[in-house]
């Protein structure tokens, strides 16, 4: 069953067009990955789905509803939660308050509570009184993921969660993914790191210059095809 789908999604920043008809589909329980270089439109795609950028209603469908034109707070209340690029923790909130505010617009009982998030990332419990922005990059990323999970989302959008982190830290963070998937959330990960994306996703979409240039199951995609789709055929 398709839970979330974009159809011919276009997006603009003023006169600049960032997306040119993007079609992706996320099935319930599935994890998909969006890969692509800087400026390919991955973050624009995430911001469109989350409602930070507004689009035509029919361009994004979620659980049978056209949500393309809904604002972010309504989209979040419907169960689509985002870990934004660059983590974006609230500087005047402690770690625990950053987690608690994740439930502001959507309070439903489910797998994720303060306790289960602390069990997933035990270091956060130790640091719960510290301002969120005083943590290391990897720990901040854990807070951002926990904050998005607190609303027990049906769709979790992870925008560049490995950006700027050491490989060992990235491994720790991705180790949390199976429990997130088991909790019932369908996941979209946006990555520049192709290897990481291929490992976790059932379907990979490669984007370049605002278009999907390649998609398929990781096993079916050759290295050359990805190279061409990622950098352009003549790169």
């Amino acid at each position: 069953m398709t839970l979330l789908q974009t159809q011919g999604l276009t997006a603009h920043y003023g006169d600049f067009q960032a997306l040119f008809g993007v079609d992706i589909a996320l099935d319930a329980g599935q994890t998909i990955a969006i890969i692509g270089a800087n400026g390919a439109g991955k973050t624009t795609l995430m911001r469109s789905i989350a409602g930070v950028l507004r689009n035509a209603p029919e361009m994004i469908r979620y659980d049978g509803t056209a949500i393309g034109a809904r604002p972010a707070d309504e989209v979040m209340a419907m169960g689509i939660s985002m870990v934004p690029e660059g983590r974006k923790l609230f500087a005047s909130l402690s770690v625990e308050e950053n987690l608690l505010i994740g439930t502001y617009g959507r309070k439903i009982a489910g797998h994720w509570t303060l306790d289960t998030v602390y069990r997933l990332f035990p270091i956060l419990k130790e640091k719960r009184r510290v301002p969120g922005t005083a943590l290391s990059g990897g720990q901040q990323q854990m807070v951002a993921i926990g904050r998005a999970l607190m609303s027990n989302p049906r769709v979790l959008l992870c925008d560049e969660i490995s950006l700027g982190l050491a490989p060992v830290v990235i491994r720790d963070i991705y180790a949390a993914l199976p429990e997130i998937q088991n909790s019932g959330a369908s996941v979209i990960v946006v990555e520049q790191d192709i290897g990481q994306a291929m490992k976790v996703a059932t379907t990979v979409y490669c984007m370049m210059e605002g278009r999907v240039t390649l998609s398929g199951a990781p096993a079916d995609l050759s290295r050359d095809a990805i190279h061409a789709a990622y950098f352009g055929a003549h790169a």
């Binding site: 707070d73 979040m76 909130l93 308050e97 505010i101 994740g102």
Partner: protein, 287 residues
């Protein structure tokens, strides 16, 4: 002992200035909006209390309780209908709009209540005092000061102990990310201005009982409030109280030297504090 008395009176006067300033500080802290009509809103609330007192013939404190929800609703609507439309990266539109609002309010009050100066009668409370040996303090200034402390404690509790307070701080940090948490920044701002108007009503109660007011006194109140907020450090409520006290003490000390020094001494103290600590006494760690 006259000095001690002067300083105590000044501290108590600082409570009144802190009350004037707390609403301003709250709104600025959450949405970076400088409300130039804040003083006029205080005067408007004072007229509202006066009207309730004269129509219902009740005690001013009860009248203020009735005025609070009305002012909350007005603040909520003002933010929703007017101010939310001008908030943005450019700080000039909100300044112009609130400046215009200030003029509109002054003229509307003039039209409705005439230029005669008014006063809310506090009865025997106005002249009651408490003899503490070396100093005698008026019950009314003492109540004002206690109210200022209560207001600041209550606002701090709201800010740091409730989900709404978390939403206030988160929206102040980053409205876009806050919307990803299901927070509607427009609704949070409306709530904040509504709460600021409750504080404005409390300030208006003491303004009306302690001094005469007419439709044009708002901007002068705003000036003291601004000074208290700025020397206290933008966004810090306890800093705002400290700022109010500094201005209050400077004014009473100035007045004890010569009456014409009263206002000037407050402004001089403001400039001296800014010279020593340009970001105020208790600036928040970030802006």
């Amino acid at each position: 002992m006259i000095w001690l008395d002067t300083i105590v009176q000044g501290i108590l006067l600082g409570g009144l200035y802190a009350l004037f300033a707390a609403g301003l500080s709250l709104v600025f802290g959450i949405m970076r909006l400088v409300n130039l009509a804040h003083g006029d809103l205080i005067v408007m609330a004072a007229y509202l209390i006066l009207t309730v007192v004269s129509v219902l013939g009740i005690n001013p404190f009860l009248a203020a309780l009735i005025a609070m929800p009305i002012m909350f609703a007005l603040g909520w609507l003002l933010q929703r209908i007017v101010l939310n439309r001008v908030l943005g990266d450019d700080i000039l539109p909100p300044l112009l709009v609130t400046f215009g609002l200030s003029i509109v309010l002054q003229n509307a009050l003039l039209e409705g209540f005439s230029a005669d100066s008014q006063r809310v009668s506090g009865g025997a409370l106005e002249t009651a005092s408490w003899n503490l040996g070396p100093v005698t303090v008026g019950i009314m200034p003492l109540l004002t000061f206690a109210s200022a402390i209560l207001v600041i404690v209550a606002l701090n509790q709201l800010f740091y102990r409730t989900a709404l307070g978390r939403a206030f701080r988160a929206t102040s940090d980053d409205p876009v990310t806050a919307s990803l948490m299901g927070i509607k920044p427009a609704g949070v701002f409306a709530m904040a201005t509504g709460i600021a108007m409750i504080v404005v009503t409390i300030a208006a109660l003491y303004l009306g009982m302690r001094a005469n007011f007419d439709p044009t006194v708002g901007p002068a109140r705003l000036l003291y409030a601004f000074e208290a907020v700025i020397i206290g450090g933008l966004g810090s409520l306890w800093g705002t109280l400290a700022g109010g006290i500094i201005i209050g003490v400077a004014q009473t000390l100035g007045a004890s030297i010569s009456p014409e020094w009263q206002i000037l001494a407050g402004h001089v103290a403001f400039l001296v504090v800014l010279l020593i600590k340009p970001r105020g006494l208790f600036p928040r760690a970030f802006d």
